[in-house]
Structures are given as C-alpha cells and as structure tokens.
Amino acid sequence: MSQPKMTRDLLEHRQALLGFIYAVTRDFDVAEEIFQETALAILAESAAGRVAEPFLPWAREVARRRIAEHHRTCTTNRRVVPMPVALLDVAAQSFDENEESRDRMRARQSLLAGCLGSLTGRVRRMLDLRYHGRCSVPEIARDAGWTVDAVHVALSRARKALAECVARDSSLKEAR
C-alpha cells in the first residue's frame, strides 16, 4: 500500500480508531496520544511494506497493542490502576463486530448536534466540562458543589437522553 493511501486510510478512520482507544482508556488526552503512537507505528509498518488488508481491523490491532503497552508503562510508573486485559480484548471484539459506515457516522454527528441544542443549563454545562473541558467527574462535582454521585447520575441521564434523541430519527437507522 502506498504511503499516501495509508495516510488517507489513517485519517479517514481516525474517529473509529480514536473511539476504540477511548472506549478503553476513558481519557481523551491519553486516547489522542495513543492514537498518535498508533499512527506512527502504522506509517512505519507501511514504509517497511508490512500492511494488512482490510485496513481498519489491522489498524485496530496495532492500536490494541499500543494501548496495552501504554498501560504497562503507566502501571509500572504507578500512574494508573491496572486495566483489565479482558476489557481490552472484548472492546476490540465489540468494535470488530460493529463497524459503521461513514454515512452513518455523519448522520449521527448531524443528529447529535440538533439534540444537543435542546439541552440547556447545568446539564449542558456538565457535558461541556466532561467532553470539552475533559474534567473528571470529581472535578465537575467540586466545581458544581454537587456530590460525585449526583454528577454521575446527571451525566448518565444526559447521555441516555441524547442517545434516545439520536435513535428516534430514522435516518440513522437507514444509514447503517
């Protein structure tokens, strides 16, 4: 596979790969970092002529190894609690089984933008802090003056409401 095509594939599947990494790490900064490491590894493999098709499952396997390596390093440095290997494996399996088309990805993005518009006040603010500000739940709780459990419940309800709002639109189902 040529380097330009590899680059295109990589950028085209960025969200899919990042999603998988985030599913396991639950930290956007770490996920971005592992994605970059994965991209470097993939480009190096490509330069050496070692690329497998189809691209995404292969790239996900490269990412899976990077996640494991990242956690090994961090655990050695005692920076995080160990991540269960079982979760990493079953996450990879889950994403392998449930690939999605680009049309569907775009449809979800458009629907979610509309659904977000209906949220106001503190719930919207908490989502901002969690997903834009990258704050942890205890940090949001501290800032809001709520308990961790209360923030957790509020975020959980907000996500559920958004998921239901997106699912109500038939266009996403059609775009599978």
């Binding site: 985030y22 639950r26 900064d29 089984e97 990805m105 802090l129 739940v137 998921a163």
Partner: protein, 462 residues
C-alpha cells in the same frame, strides 16, 4: 437484572470511576452478550462525537479561566464562585513572585538548574536569561525558560538529550522550556524545524506559535510563523495542529502541510520535497510567471488556491472539477491578466502570450491517484482551436518540474496534427488537465508556472 447492572457499569466506566473489579465485571457481561457489545460501541461513538461537537461549538466561546495544565488538559471556569478565590489568588501571586525571583537569579543559570538542551551549532544568535542577553555559542547549555534569537543571517541548532533536534532559522525568536518533563517550544517569530525523537507516554512535545500549536510524539516537521499565520510541514510521522483562535484541529501526516490562519480553512495539502530537476534548461526573463504566493486566483478561471507547493512555496493551485467522475482540470484564462489586457478588448483580441520560436513552458505538478497522463493545451485565437501536448505516465506522489517547448504543441484533432502551430498567433488560455483511466477523482496541484525562452535567447515581449 443483568440489563440494569450492565447500564450501571457502563455509566461508571464512561465516567472513569469504575473500579478494576467493576471493569472485570463489565468485560464479562460484554463477552457473554453481543447486544451489550453493540451498545458499548454505540455509547462510545456517541461520546466521541459529543467530544468532537462540543470542542468545535465551544471553541470560540471558551469561559474565562480556561487554562492549560498537565498534558494539555483544558479547564473551564468554575460552575460556582469560591469565596476564597480572591485571597487565594493574592497569596498565589505573592508566592509566584517569590518563585520567579528565586528562579531568575541575576547570575543567569542557577546552580543545580536542570540542563534542558545544548547548542550544537550557532551563528549570529543570542540567548536571553535573567534579563541578560549574551551571544550563543556551540556547546552552550540551555535551561528552562531561555529565550533564543537569531539575526538576519543567524541560525541555531539545539539538541536535547534524547536526540531531538530543534533548529531556529534566521530572524527568529523562540522560548524553550520543560513542563512536567515535556518539551515546550514557543515560536515567537520566524521558522523552526524539528526532528523529534519518540517522546515518553504523557510527555508529547508541543511547539506553539501565537496562532497554533503542534503536538508531537515523534516526527520530523517544520513550523513557520509569518504574517499572522502558522504553517506546519510534516516530513515524518503525524502531528496534530490546533488553531488557537477557535480550537479547531487537523492531523497533519507525513508528506502534508497545513496552514493555521484566520479566515482560511484548516485543511491539509500535499507537501513537497522533490527539488527541481538539474536537467532543466535555465530560463531567461519570464513573459509569464505564476507562483500563487499572494494566495489569490488572479487570472485563473478554475481550481482553488491551497496551502503547499514546491519547496519554499506557500501556496499552489489545486485543480478542480464540477463532475466528481471527470478529470480535474484548471483553466488559465487571459481575460483577467493585466499583462496582456487590451483596452476595450474582446475574447478574440486578448491573449496570454504570443507564440514565438523557442518559448518554454515550465511548471511543477503534484499528482495523486491514477492519472495516466497530463494534458497541457492552449486555445489559439487565430486558428480557433486547442493545441497542446500530453505527458504520459507522469510521476505520482511527488512534485515534479517539467519543461515543454510551446512551438512543439500539436493540434488537438489527431487528423489535423500535421498543421503546425503558427508563429505569431496568440494563446488566450492555458489549461492543465490530469486524465485518469479509471475516471476516479485525482488530486492535481500546479505551482510555479513560468513561460520564458532559454537564458541568453532574445525573445521580444508581447
């Protein structure tokens, strides 16, 4: 019951508060139930999309107090105001002032201060530390916070212990520092290039300008800060460029370039490494020269100006096509060229150039895809038809410079190719067209279009 437990575990996992035992339990439930696996993936996709959307929507309306900390983590203003904020702020300021005084002792580098990097080559460069400015010399040690500057003809190379090398070109200023073990370079003006060794997890190197910042795990790149815009060229690896004004990001891969500037799309384009072929004939004074460096489409009817181009160039023209299945092409039209514009002229008495013996058309192109040939042709006002040549099997994936002899252009109609292009006729358009056998869209960039006679040849100007 299992469903309720799964939902609860998934939420705790999503919020990053699941214990190891709960993560194990979640893994077991996922393993046993394909529907749970589907929901797990759906949930993650929703969160990633949420993250992307909120990052974009909030980019222009960040709350006060949104500061960087740790690994680039963003912070927002508090949801509630703390009554301790003001006194705490004053106390913190006093402590900070003391800290600054202790760090910036008048003697320059303090005993025990950590070495950040060493200068491996320095020409006409200075460094500023503790309010003192001194000439920079080879083997000088740099410490956290040093400000480095170069003169008109200056240049500095600094080497970090891990093999990372940063080069500041002439007329540049940069600040080097270390934050939580991660390298930081703030480019205040000028141009830096960097070859970055693989950085430790959680300690990606950041090179920032006033308008953008690049996060680097390990790669080779060049970052320029000029006229309020930041240009990033990546030659190895992958770099994320974030525009400061709105927080938008773009991943720039090897062989690509991106420009962060207000009012311009933050997109990547092909980068260029191939130098011009040494076999090219030296050209004399050009009758026509287009390098697109003003970023405008003057004289060009089709295509779009994009960042990138041959080495040292900021912009090129990218061919476009209204039909995605057709070959992209660009038209070069005389109508808008002041060089040849005649008062009260019409299409028939306006032209780009007059055909003369010895004229050479030189241009550089970058092709991506499966183009089988490039067609270069012009419309002859007097003979009322197109004349041109085909470049068969053009190079793909790299910039290539070619020279064509205009008086060897042939009639488009194969039946009439015996009719020569007459001297003294006028070309009113010049078209570059990439033709793809598979009819798939092809990216086709053109830069540095020059029309001239060989050096030393006397060709009268139009």
């Amino acid at each position: 019951m299992e469903r309720l437990r799964f939902d609860a575990l998934l939420d705790r996992h999503a919020d990053g508060i699941a214990t190891s035992a709960e993560a194990d339990e979640l893994a077991a439930l996922l393993k046993a139930n394909p529907e749970f696996r589907r929901e797990f993936v759906e949930r993650t996709r929703l969160e990633i999309t949420l993250h992307d959307l909120l990052s974009t929507q909030n980019a222009t309306a960040r709350p006060n107090g949104n500061v960087k900390a740790g690994r680039g983590r963003k912070r927002h203003a508090s949801l509630r105001k703390s009554p301790w904020l003001l006194p705490f702020g004053i106390a913190a300021s006093i402590l900070l002032a003391i800290g600054v005084y202790v760090l910036w002792v008048p003697q320059g580098m303090k005993r025990g201060q950590e070495t950040l990097a060493r200068v491996s080559a320095a020409t006409n460069a200075h460094f500023s530390r503790a309010n003192r400015i001194e000439p920079l010399a080879n083997a000088n040690v740099l410490v956290n916070g040093d400000l480095i500057s170069t003169d008109n003809d200056g240049r500095v190379e600094i080497d970090y212990a891990d093999g990372t090398r940063v080069t500041l070109e002439s007329n540049g200023r940069m600040n080097v520092s270390l934050s939580n073990g991660a390298k930081r370079v703030r480019l205040l003006s000028g141009e830096v290039s960097a070859s970055v060794a693989k950085q430790p997890a959680g300690q990606a190197m950041i090179i920032a300008t006033a308008t953008a910042q690049a996060t680097i795990v390990g790669t080779q790149l060049r970052l320029k800060d000029r006229d309020g815009e930041t240009r990033l060229e990546v030659t190895q690896g992958l770099v994320r460029l974030q525009r400061s004004s709105d927080g938008r990001t773009v991943d720039v891969a090897a062989g690509q370039v991106a420009v962060a500037a207000s009012g311009r799309d933050l997109v990547t384009e092909a980068l260029v490494k191939t130098p011009e072929s040494p076999a090219l004939v030296a050209l004399g004074t050009p009758l026509l020269r287009e390098d697109f460096e003003n970023g405008r489409m003057e004289g060009w009817a089709d295509g779009v100006i994009v960042p990138g181009g041959v080495e040292g160039s900021r912009y090129a023209i990218s061919a476009s096509s209204s039909d995605a299945n057709a070959s992209p092409h660009v038209d070069f039209s005389a109508v808008r060229l002041p060089l040849v514009r005649l008062p009260g002229g019409t299409r028939d008495n306006e032209w780009i150039f007059t055909v003369q013996r010895g004229l050479i058309l030189q241009f550089s192109f970058f092709l991506e895809g499966e183009a089988g040939s490039i067609r270069v042709q012009g419309f002859d006002n007097e003979q009322h038809d197109n004349f041109g040549v085909n470049l068969e099997q053009p190079a793909v994936g790299r910039w290539t410079t070619v020279q064509l002899h205009v008086d060897a252009f042939l009639h488009n109609d194969p039946q009439r190719q015996s009719e020569p292009l007459k001297q003294g006729t006028h070309f009113r358009s010049l078209q570059f067209q990439a033709e793809s056998p598979s009819r798939k869209p092809t990216r086709f960039l053109i830069d540095n279009v020059i029309l001239a006679a060989p050096a030393g040849t006397d060709v009268p100007r139009n």
